[in-house]
Each structure stands twice: as structure tokens, then as C-alpha cells.
């Protein structure tokens, strides 16, 4: 496996509280990595560090080293806009902007300087197709995005993230606010996206981790307890704490 993001000795503090402790992990390219663990274990915090969304939170301090394709993401030369263009994000609750479906998807490309109408049309269609929502919205691209269902909104948000042509897609519990049918559609979609993208997904749902992911990282109290192939983690975990968690003894 080739790793695309490598994390070395990373620690993160919220003020005086240490939320992540000495993380070391290599995220494999073009595969799906699931981050699991009980609430408050730091998995979402870790995810948001990878594209520096934690910059937005006052009082966060990070030490250690995170490299994307070999380059330090905290380097002063790094433009955080370009980093987030490469490493896109889908949030827990669908958060389309209160504008048309088309403008939602075109928001990212426009942000990065694409203004040509023909080119934008192409990007929007491809992103919506890749997110498996094109057929449902192609006749109402000019309609407000808040008018479609929650599951559709989440796929629209995935399309919006894909439209900037990222390499990595971070997903923070993307199905926790959705019904079972929407959830399974998104899971199918995630599996298809693996062909082109590296995906890191935080999930509370262990069945989901088993269904979609190739690799699993188990977090507990800010530590990365175990990382490995998903089938290994779930069939023969090395650590007692992992075993206790996946067999439902706590969490």
C-alpha cells in the first residue's frame, strides 16, 4: 500500500486539555479508512486536523508532523485554500448553502477561479453524476438546494466536495443524520468513490465500518489504539481495548 497522508507523533491541545496523544498513522491511498471509537475519543478532531479545519477553532495547538504527499501541511508556505482543495470534506449534517443546486456545486470551482460557463456546466454535471444524484436533480438545478430531502442534500454535499476535484475526501459521520435507505445509498456511493479517491470516514456505526472500509483505526481517549486492515481489526484485534469496544462491552 502507498500512503498518501502520514502522521508522526501528532498531539493536539484545546487550551490545556490534550485531545490527541502521540498519533502515528499512515493513510493508504485510494482506499477507505474508517475511524471508530466512542464519543469524545478524538476521531473527529483528528479528521479535521487533516485539512486544517481546526484552524478555525480558537485555542487549538498542534505538535508533531502531518505530511500530505510528503509535504508538511503546517508549513508556512502551504496555502490552506489549496490544501482544502486537495483534501475535501463532507460534514455530519448535510449543509448545502441556501442557494440553487447548481450554485452549490459550482461554489468550489468558482472559488478556485473557474468562471467559464461551459466548463462549469461540465464540472457540475460530472460531480453530480459521480455523487449519484444527477438523475434526481438534473431538471431542477436552478431550484433551492434546501428543498430536497436530507439524503439528497448529503449527496449534493458530496458532489459539492467532488467538484473541486480533490484527492482525499474526509467524511465526518456522513450518514448519522440520515434514514437507513439514504444511508445505504451513501455507503454504495462511498464504495464507488474509492476507485478515484482516498476516503477517510469517521463513523459511530461499526457495521458501517465493516461494510465500507478497507482499513480501520480505533481511537480511545485521544489515543490511536490500533490500526490495521478492517477484517483483521474486527476478527482478531491485537489490543484488549479494541476487542472490548467492537464486541460492545463499552462505548
Amino acid at each position: 500500500m502507498n500512503s498518501i497522508i502520514s502522521v508522526k507523533d501528532m498531539c493536539l491541545w484545546y487550551g490545556d486539555h490534550q485531545a490527541l496523544k502521540n498519533l502515528n498513522v499512515e493513510i493508504p491511498e485510494k482506499s477507505i479508512t474508517a475511524l471508530i471509537g466512542p464519543s469524545g475519543c478524538g476521531k473527529s478532531t483528528f479528521l479535521k486536523t487533516l485539512n486544517r479545519m481546526n484552524d478555525l477553532i480558537p485555542g487549538v495547538r498542534i505538535t508533531g508532523d502531518i505530511r500530505y504527499k510528503g509535504a508538511d501541511i503546517f508549513d508556512k508556505e502551504v496555502d490552506v485554500s489549496n490544501l482544502r482543495k486537495e483534501i475535501g470534506m463532507v460534514f455530519q449534517n448535510p449543509n448545502p448553502f441556501p442557494m440553487s443546486i447548481y450554485n452549490n456545486v459550482a461554489y468550489g470551482p468558482r472559488t478556485h477561479g473557474i468562471t467559464n460557463k461551459v466548463q462549469l456546466d461540465e464540472i457540475v454535471e460530472r460531480a453530480l453524476r459521480d455523487a449519484a444524484i444527477w438523475d434526481e436533480v438534473k431538471d431542477r438545478l436552478k431550484k433551492n438546494a434546501l428543498g430536497i430531502s436530507g439524503g439528497q442534500q448529503q449527496r449534493l454535499c458530496i458532489a459539492r466536495a467532488l467538484a473541486v476535484q480533490p484527492t482525499v475526501l474526509l467524511m465526518d459521520e456522513p450518514t448519522s443524520a440520515l434514514d437507513p435507505i439514504s444511508t445505504s445509498r451513501i455507503e454504495e456511493l462511498i464504495l464507488e468513490l474509492k476507485e478515484k479517491y482516498t476516503i477517510v470516514i469517521v463513523t459511530h456505526n461499526m457495521q458501517q465500518a465493516v461494510r465500507v472500509s478497507d482499513y480501520t483505526a480505533f481511537f480511545l481517549l485521544g489515543e490511536l489504539v490500533e490500526f490495521g486492515r478492517t477484517e483483521d481489526i474486527f476478527s482478531q484485534p491485537m489490543d484488549k481495548r479494541t476487542e472490548d469496544y467492537i464486541t460492545g462491552r463499552f462505548g
Partner: protein, 283 residues
């Protein structure tokens, strides 16, 4: 449970209810009386000639066209200056400022500023503006800018706070810079707050007299907007004061009063309409 209330308690209940009814009745009567009185005394005096001419000392004719125009100019000039200032300050304080202590000090100062009697603004405006640029509508407008700045800033801020965090996160997550996020996602979400602030300010400007007596003067000349702003002039409220107090023209004063009252009702109506419209859009 089924025992009837004692006589004493019954009387007490009835008495209290009667007192409250009296309070409501008096309040309603006062408001209605004022409205009806002003309309009845004012409306018959509103003639086309009054609205469309300027006063002439030769013929003794009184017209309020200059005062209407002056009011319009001062509203426009004030809004043109106060909007970018107030909205800009609100955006900075809500979206950019990192020192929360300073933000709350500024917010507190704005809160106090909006409670100061307007005659104090007039005094300060006279020293700051009129003494330097002469008594003119522009000096009045600048004084009103200081007066309305807190209103615009606070309503915009409150409205910025209602824009969900998730919109900002979504935009940042796509690699948008701070200003792009503010311009494309945050500002469109707070247009209603800005409009509400504007309407409230227009109401305050229409009703303001004390601050303008010091700064804008009393002239009744018909001017274009540029010339008008550079020369002294009375707005409707100031004209009302002048006609009633110095010339004893109560008919004219009541006509102006009626016009102002109708404008106030229209402004209240506009505010609620805007708020309803946006509330509907949100849900």
C-alpha cells in the same frame, strides 16, 4: 373544591379585573385619541399647494416641499454613510475579531450610545461638524450617522449570528478564503437584518428633531441633493417645530404631524413585512 369563593375574595377578584381593564382602556384611548386628533386636525390642511410649493414671505404662502426634500436628502445621505460603516463594523466584530474582550467592550459602548438623549448628539454634532463645515444638512446627516451607527451595527450583528456555523464550515471546507465566505455565504444570510436596521434608522431619522436643530438649520429653500446637503435646511420635524412654536401656524404643523404619522405607520408595516418574508424563507 366546589365551595363558592368567599365574598371578600370575589370582590377582590372583580376589583382587580376592573382596574386592569381601566389601565388597558386608558392606554388604548390615549393612543386612539392622539391618532384621531392629529389626523382630524392635520389632514384637512394637507393640500396640493402645501406639498408642492416653498414658503414665500411676500405672499404669506406656506409650502413644505423644501422640508420634504430636505428630509429625503438627509435620509439618503445618512444611510449612504452609515450602512457601509455599520455593516462593515458588524462583519469585523462577528467574523474577524479574535479578542472577545474588546468585542464586548465595543458592543457595550454601542448599547450605551443608542440610549443617549438625541440632544446630546446635537450638541456634539454642532461642535464637531457645524462649526467646521457650517450649519447644513450634511452636518445634520453626519450627526445622524453617529446616532444610527449602533442600530445598524447591532441589528446586522444579531443577524450575522443567526447564519448557521455549518454554512461557514462548508465554504471553508471547499477552500474558500475568509472574505469569500463572508461575501457569498454569510452576508446573503443576513440581508434581512440589514434591511430591518435600515428601516428602523429611517424611522429614527424621520422623527429626529433635537439633533438637527443644532446642526442642520431651519432654511426652506428648494435645492438639488448636492446643493441641498451643502446648505442649511429644515426637515419635516424641524419645520413642524418652527411653524408651531415660532409662527403659530398650527394648521401646517398638524398637517406635517399627520404626514409623519402616516410615514411611521408605513415604516412599521414595512419592518414587519420584511421580517415575515424572511422568516418564511428560512423555514
Amino acid at each position: 373544591m366546589k365551595q363558592p369563593l368567599s365574598k371578600k375574595r370575589k370582590i377582590y377578584e372583580v376589583l382587580m379585573k376592573a382596574l386592569m381593564l381601566l389601565a388597558v382602556g386608558l392606554t388604548a384611548a390615549l393612543v386612539l385619541f392622539l391618532l384621531v386628533y392629529v389626523i382630524v386636525k392635520g389632514v384637512p390642511n394637507i393640500t396640493w399647494e402645501l406639498l408642492s410649493t416653498k414658503p414665500s414671505y411676500l405672499t404669506g404662502r406656506i409650502g413644505i416641499l423644501p422640508d420634504i426634500l430636505n428630509t429625503l436628502y438627509i435620509v439618503i445621505a445618512t444611510l449612504v454613510i452609515v450602512l457601509p460603516l455599520g455593516v462593515g463594523a458588524a462583519i469585523y466584530l462577528t467574523e474577524y475579531a479574535s479578542n472577545q474582550r474588546i468585542v464586548s467592550i465595543i458592543e457595550y459602548a454601542a448599547e450605551i450610545l443608542s440610549g443617549i438623549p438625541s440632544i446630546i448628539y446635537g450638541l456634539v454634532g454642532m461642535l464637531l461638524f457645524s462649526n467646521n463645515m457650517g450649519t447644513c444638512l450634511m452636518a445634520g446627516a453626519l450627526t445622524l450617522v453617529i446616532m444610527n451607527l449602533p442600530t445598524i451595527m447591532r441589528t446586522t450583528q444579531e443577524s450575522l449570528k443567526t447564519v448557521p456555523r455549518s454554512y461557514r464550515e462548508g465554504a471553508f471546507g471547499l477552500g474558500a478564503g475568509k472574505w469569500r465566505v463572508v461575501r457569498t455565504v454569510v452576508l446573503p444570510g443576513c440581508v434581512d437584518g440589514v434591511i430591518t436596521g435600515c428601516i428602523l434608522s429611517v424611522g429614527r431619522i424621520l422623527g429626529e428633531s433635537a439633533a438637527l436643530l443644532f446642526t442642520a438649520g431651519f432654511a426652506h429653500a428648494v435645492n438639488g441633493i448636492i446643493e441641498g446637503l451643502a446648505s442649511p435646511g429644515a426637515t419635516l420635524t424641524v419645520a413642524l417645530y418652527v411653524y408651531a412654536k415660532e409662527q403659530g401656524e398650527f394648521g401646517v404643523a398638524f398637517a406635517i404631524a399627520a404626514i409623519l404619522m402616516v410615514l411611521t405607520i408605513l415604516i412599521n408595516f414595512a419592518t414587519t413585512t420584511v421580517q415575515k418574508k424572511f422568516a418564511k424563507k428560512r423555514s
